[in-house]
């Protein structure tokens, strides 16, 4: 924990407020650099012999502007989310949801799904832990759908690259799908479609251990989240932006509009189907998405594709198969898929 030791040393030097002072200073420096990214990118392009109006020049400008911008936004959002998440734990969330009635329970579960630290490799133990402690099946699904779909990486990048309206709409519709899909699965009464040994398990939703962290430890959790998440996704982000830059500079607008424009009614279901076998974090595909939208692809179609990639992934279904009978997996895919389709058409109608 060299980082915690460094934070502790800082506290010794600057007093108890030291780490907070440092964070505020870092945020101010962040904002200062962020607002200068546009002129900086223009300056870099001007240093090359490329004409800014040419294909090559436009592609280069796109890359040298978007790469630092996206990475800076990622660092900020992941850091803040890391601090927020230090107030939550799966144990505490389970205690909040245990025995909760459907309806309100679904709403609460979707919200907590966004805020509770969650790793997709823990999906099955978490599922079992919830269901065996008396969290209703539909409420558990609301949590499991919201957790990967409305993630901080997707939200932060949409906000920075496409605009706050789309980011807010994504948050709203993502939560709505999680709530309604979970509620529908709960209404259908499918408990018998769990694997039998899951039903037989009963655990206690024991009083969750209180999360007692110092402000210093929470800031440390934020830094740790940045190190872990941004440290892992940055090559994908840069790769995504490079692809985006190529599309930006070279693909003619007409081609993209005819393939992914809002006129084609079949484009939304095709986007959802294409997304299922793909498994990617939100970070890798968002820059591509931004470039697609910039070139006239319909936003609902693009978002449906993104939600499908994130929420309906084949590898996750294979893991869930350990606890769910195939029929329940089919219902899960059908309900969530229908929600994504609805969002796709709705976005195309609203923003198309």
């Amino acid at each position: 924990m060299d980082m915690m030791q460094r934070l502790a040393a800082m506290e010794d030097r600057l007093g108890p407020g030291g780490p907070a002072v440092l964070v505020v200073g870092a945020l101010v420096a962040w904002a200062g650099i962020y607002v200068q990214l546009g002129p900086l990118a223009d300056g870099v392009v001007a240093l090359t012999p490329l004409d800014p109006a040419s294909h090559n020049g436009a592609a280069l400008r796109f890359f040298v502007y978007d790469a630092p911008k996206v990475l800076m936004l990622l660092v900020l959002v992941v850091f803040l989310m890391g601090i927020v998440r230090s107030f939550f734990s799966p144990e505490r969330t389970r205690a909040l949801l245990s025995g909760r009635a459907e309806g309100l329970g679904n709403v609460l579960a979707a919200g907590l799904g966004v805020l509770t630290p969650f790793c997709s490799c823990s999906a099955v133990p978490l599922f079992i832990g919830f269901v065996s402690a008396g969290v209703p099946l539909g409420v558990t699904f609301s949590f499991l759908i919201a957790a990967p779909m409305v993630n901080e990486v997707a939200l932060g990048l949409l906000f920075g690259l496409v605009g706050w309206q789309v980011a807010l709409a994504y948050l709203g519709f993502g939560l709505t799908i999680a709530i309604l899909a979970g509620w529908t699965i709960g209404r259908l009464g499918l408990e018998a479609w769990l694997e039998d040994w899951v039903l037989a398990l009963k655990t206690e939703a024991t009083a969750a251990p209180a999360i007692d962290m110092t402000p210093r430890a929470r800031i440390g959790a934020g830094i740790e989240a940045v190190r872990e998440i941004v440290g892992k996704v940055w090559p994908w982000v840069l790769g995504g932006i490079a692809v985006g830059a190529l599309i930006h500079g070279y693909v003619p607008q007409d081609t993209m509009v005819s393939v992914m424009g809002s006129e084609a009614w079949w484009s939304v279901p095709v986007a959802v189907l294409l997304g299922i076998p793909m498994y990617s974090g939100a970070a890798g595909i968002i820059p591509v998405i931004e470039a697609l939208i910039g070139k006239g692809a319909a936003i609902g179609t693009v978002l449906a594709f993104m939600m499908s990639v994130i929420a309906l992934s084949l590898p996750e279904m294979i893991i869930l198969r350990r606890v769910l009978k195939p029929r329940l997996i089919a219902v899960f895919v059908a309900v969530v898929g229908a929600g994504i389709l609805a969002v796709g058409y709705l976005f195309n109608a609203l923003f198309g």
Binding site: M1, P90, C121, G129
Partner: protein, 78 residues
């Protein structure tokens, strides 16, 4: 000392088992490290985040790769 690493076999779980084995060798603590991948068994320990670490039947850790310092603390019983 009887150590169990709970997890579905993901990379973090393998790393956790390796850290514990290496630290035990370094400290000269005799241990048996067993990987528990059965979800029913994992759920039986009440663990919802993997990897989890169980030492002599007691859950000492859940979620994420533990730090070497933590592992040393568990192994020496400090």
């Amino acid at each position: 000392m009887d150590v169990k690493v709970l997890g579905s076999g993901c990379r973090n779980c393998l790393n956790t088992a390796e850290i514990i084995t290496a630290k035990a060798a370094e400290l000269g603590v005799p241990v048996t490290v067993e990987k528990v991948t059965d979800f029913a068994a994992i759920a039986g320990y009440g663990v919802m985040r993997t990897p989890g670490v169980v030492i002599d039947g007691k859950v000492v850790h859940a979620g994420g790769v533990p730090s070497a310092d933590d592992v040393a603390r568990w192994l020496t019983g400090a």
